[in-house]
Amino acid sequence: MIIGLESWTLARPELFLAAVTALLLIYGVVRGESSANFVAIASSLALLATAVLIFAPYREGTAFASLFIVDRLTATMKALVLVGAAVTVLMSRAYFERVRAWRFEYPVLVSLATLGMMLMISANDLMALYVGLELQSLALYVVASFQRDSERSTEAGLKYFVLGSVASGMLLFGSSLIYGFCGGTAFVEISKALLDGRAAESGVIVGLVFVVAGLAFKVSAVPFHMWTPDVYEGAPTPVTALFAVAPKIAAMSLLVSVLMGPFKPLFVQWQQIIVVASVLSMALGAFAALRQQNIKRLMAYSSIGNVGYVLLGLASGSEKGIEAVVFYLAIYLVMTLGVFATILMMKRRDVMLENISDLGGLARNQPMMAFAMLIFMFSLAGIPPLAGFWGKLYIFIAAVEAKLYIPAVLGVLASVVASYYYLRIVKVMYFDEPAEALDRPVFGINRAVALVAAFLVAVFSLLPQPLSLIAAAAAKGLFP
């Protein structure tokens, strides 16, 4: 196939983001440190503009000799990632200014990471997948240690780098095995080889296990979750917010398109792996978070638990399951951004705080902030009528329809355990006597994000239907 104009128009959003990021990099280098504000705002606008470009006008198909694919699912996932990245860039200014690390490289790196995520979401070939994944990971390793005079941040970056490299290695090793047994790296070829029975199934399965392990690391599913709490705690808070949304959604999308695409014929085999990872993630996310004192660490375990629920949707392997994944991720994105926006407002006498106990009596000092957090917490716990409940309901419907009864029962029980620590935050805010008051937040972007997120959660709670239509349309991409 000739690489014609069609390919370029299909990859229009990616090209746009790449071009803008390059320009912003040049601008930053020329203008020096003072350009940080402009670059940050410009790059988050560029991220949002990219999200618009995906849908206006929307095109689908494959490009670059089938290396690259666009369909409803990838488009929706990209939009979620882009929104997450854009909002976290906006949220980070106040934090980095306080620690004197507000440099133009940060938004540029985030944009580059997002570009990598978009490429990996759209990957239709193991090579493209790897290239996208590495572009994303390398940028994120740097971002994790961006607060370079902080020991914790540097440590987080290094840890992420070392463990991430191991995961990448596993992914590459698995890819090479699959290549060897299937005779190709393109998803179409792999799928064809598996359906023809040309490929030696056992060999491919070994390769698949390695690939899944590599991706499980990226979504921080148990047993490849170990880096998550440390990196979440150590990384600067805005970076943690980014980690909790964008790369996670991107990697989950990749996992979905790899498993439901070329490896669909091996459904019975990979389903077992995903079910086990899902149940373990839900359980660990619930139990390990119980005694955490640091709210970032708690959110790390919470995200592990949430990934468990998403994986359960994937494990059902049905159209409903993929719908549930998209639906859940969209709500997860909103809730997580809201929580981190609130965490970024936690400061006392201009010192950032991270302990749960620092929220003591927040309901008296700052009723609005506490109320927003209350909504997020009950929503994360999955208590109806809040949006998080609909996400879990979707997942469990898919799981029951796929006859995954035991994992579904374990999942709901884990959600009860998990609700304990979400309630604990509510308890600290509402029941405890006021600690020394937190600083009044000036009207800033974080406050706006928290309130908008709370509002959106409320809207999704009452009217989940529009979101479920979007999810259904996205899932159609895999089930034409």
Partner: protein, 504 residues
């Protein structure tokens, strides 16, 4: 019937009040005064609108009335479908009656964070009414669970010394039970492709083993809520720590959700499993009646004693529901209504002295009759109603349940009847300790009798108790047709299953 959506109006009117409370601003005093007024006006209005329901309710019809239907989440087969029949009518009225009484009861006793308190109660009322009117399983679940959020806050923020532990116990116990119910609802959705309850009642056909799993899942949820022995341990904690109004709603309405759930979901949807598990329910209920009555005898805290008596009284409810004849089920519903009013009133009685003395210890009181004759009369009245004195509401329910139970199983009736004797023992003992005896405690010597506000919220309860005791037909007649249908459908389903089993 009426052209406008009256049930939705009753359900969501309190939310409007909550919204106004939220936007009230100004100096602290004014905010508190305004919030109290908004809350009492909205809940009073809601109650008046709900009376229209009773007036326009057609007692000859067995099916659902005032139905409203609309799409909500079509992707998951969930609709907004509400309606009431003879079974749910009075629960709606009970909820709308008790909420304004609670607001009145906390008029003076709550003086911190009044705004949030009123908002919590108004939201709670929406959830309660919504739950009793929901005719869609998912909608039912949303309201059933939603109740936890305001109640958790009410116990946790305005409760007593150990409020945090009590709030968590309440929340987690109930949640643990309900998530299993959620799976059961999902299983039903999977079978039918919809969560509409009316459709499910007509069409749900499950193999026996599945019926049993689902029945147990529903049971886990409702048994915790009722609460049945041995999962009742959250109740005394929650009651003791909750503020007076919280206890009133807890005992008056929240416990009924469990009994209502059995009647609304477990029995009509899963008749064979109901028959299979009925002995288990009888056993647990008998244990509850005898055991918790004995436990009540040794309590030192007034609220705890009444809480344990609630468990015992709810034992009658579950027995009545599962004997599944006309008398039993009617008795069960009547017992729930009567308990809703009497136990609520008893908690209010405790609240009256608690507001004055700030202790609930039985030993701290004695001889109140000398200083508080009006209070002594009210307390005695409700104590006797709780014991089951003929002519008051408690008697009718217990009598009907025992009558129904005798037809099915004499031993169940026998053990349940012992509860009557034990009930009289602890209730009268409590009354004697608190009200009679010498007035020896110095700090009691200046205690004041009930004021006008307190009389205002006791008076309707006294009248209702008398009405229910003297002329129960006004309450039993509207529910007769629906109960008859429930029992009839159940018997038909059992007969069908039996003939199916005999002729392979």
């Amino acid at each position: 019937m009426t052209g406008w959506p009256i049930l939705s109006l009753i359900t969501f009117l309190p939310l409007v009040g909550a919204f106004f409370c939220l936007i009230v601003n100004g100096p602290k005093e004014a905010v508190e005064r305004n919030c109290r007024s908004i809350a009492i006006v909205t809940t009073g209005l809601t109650f008046l609108v709900s009376l229209v329901l009773w007036a326009k309710f057609d007692p000859t019809k067995a099916g659902f009335q005032f139905e409203e239907k609309g799409a909500w989440v079509p992707a998951l087969g969930i609709g907004y479908h509400v309606g009431i029949d003879g079974i749910s009518l009075f629960f709606v009225l009970l909820s709308t009656l008790l909420t304004p009484i609670c607001i009145l009861a906390s008029w003076e006793s709550i003086h911190v964070r009044v705004k949030e308190y009123m908002v919590a109660f108004l939201v709670l009322e929406t959830f309660m009414v919504g739950m009793f009117t929901a005719l869609d399983l998912a909608l039912f679940y949303v309201f059933f669970e939603g109740v936890l959020i305001p109640m958790f806050l009410i116990i946790g923020v305005w409760g007593g010394a150990h409020r945090v532990k009590a709030a968590f116990m309440f929340f987690l116990y109930t949640l643990l039970g309900s998530v299993l119910m959620l799976l059961a609802i999902i299983a039903i959705y999977w079978q039918l492709g919809t969560t509409d309850l009316v459709v499910a009642m007509e069409r749900l056909q499950l193999p026996f083993s599945w019926q049993c799993y689902l029945w147990l899942a529903f049971f886990a949820s409702f048994a915790v809520k009722v609460p049945m022995w041995p999962v009742h341990t959250w109740l005394p904690q929650a009651h003791v720590e909750a503020p007076t109004a919280g206890s009133v709603i807890l005992a008056g309405v929240l416990l009924k959700m469990g009994g209502y759930g059995f009647l609304r979901l477990s029995i009509p949807l899963l008749p064979e499993a109901t028959q299979y598990f009925a002995p288990l329910v009888f056993f647990l209920s008998c244990v509850a009646v005898v055991y918790t009555s004995l436990v009540a005898l040794v309590q030192e805290d007034m609220k705890k004693l009444i809480a344990y008596s609630s468990v015992a009284h709810m034992g009658y409810v579950t027995i009545g529901a599962f004997v599944l004849n006309m008398q039993g089920v009617q008795g069960s519903i009547f017992q729930m209504l009567s308990h809703g009013i009497v136990s609520a009133a008893l908690f209010l009685c405790v609240g009256v002295v608690y507001d004055r003395m700030h202790t609930r210890e039985i030993a701290a009181y004695g001889g109140l009759v000398k200083r508080m004759p009006r209070y002594a009369f009210t307390f005695l009245f409700f104590t006797l109603a709780s014991v089951g004195l003929p002519g008051l509401s408690g008697f009718v329910g217990e009598f009907l349940v025992l009558l129904g139970a005798f037809k099915v199983n004499t031993w169940v009736a026998f053990f349940a009847a012992t509860g009557l004797i034990l009930g009289a023992a602890y209730a009268l003992w409590l009354y004697r300790q608190v009200v009679f005896g010498e007035l020896t405690k110095d700090n009691l010597k200046n205690i004041l009798d009930m004021n006008r506000r307190e009389i205002a919220f006791f008076l309707p309860l006294v009248l209702l108790t008398l009405w229910m005791g003297i002329y129960p037909a006004s309450f039993l007649d509207p529910m007769a047709a629906s109960v008859d249908k429930l029992v009839g459908d159940y018997q038909a389903a059992i007969k069908l299953a039996r003939t199916a089993a005999l002729s392979p």
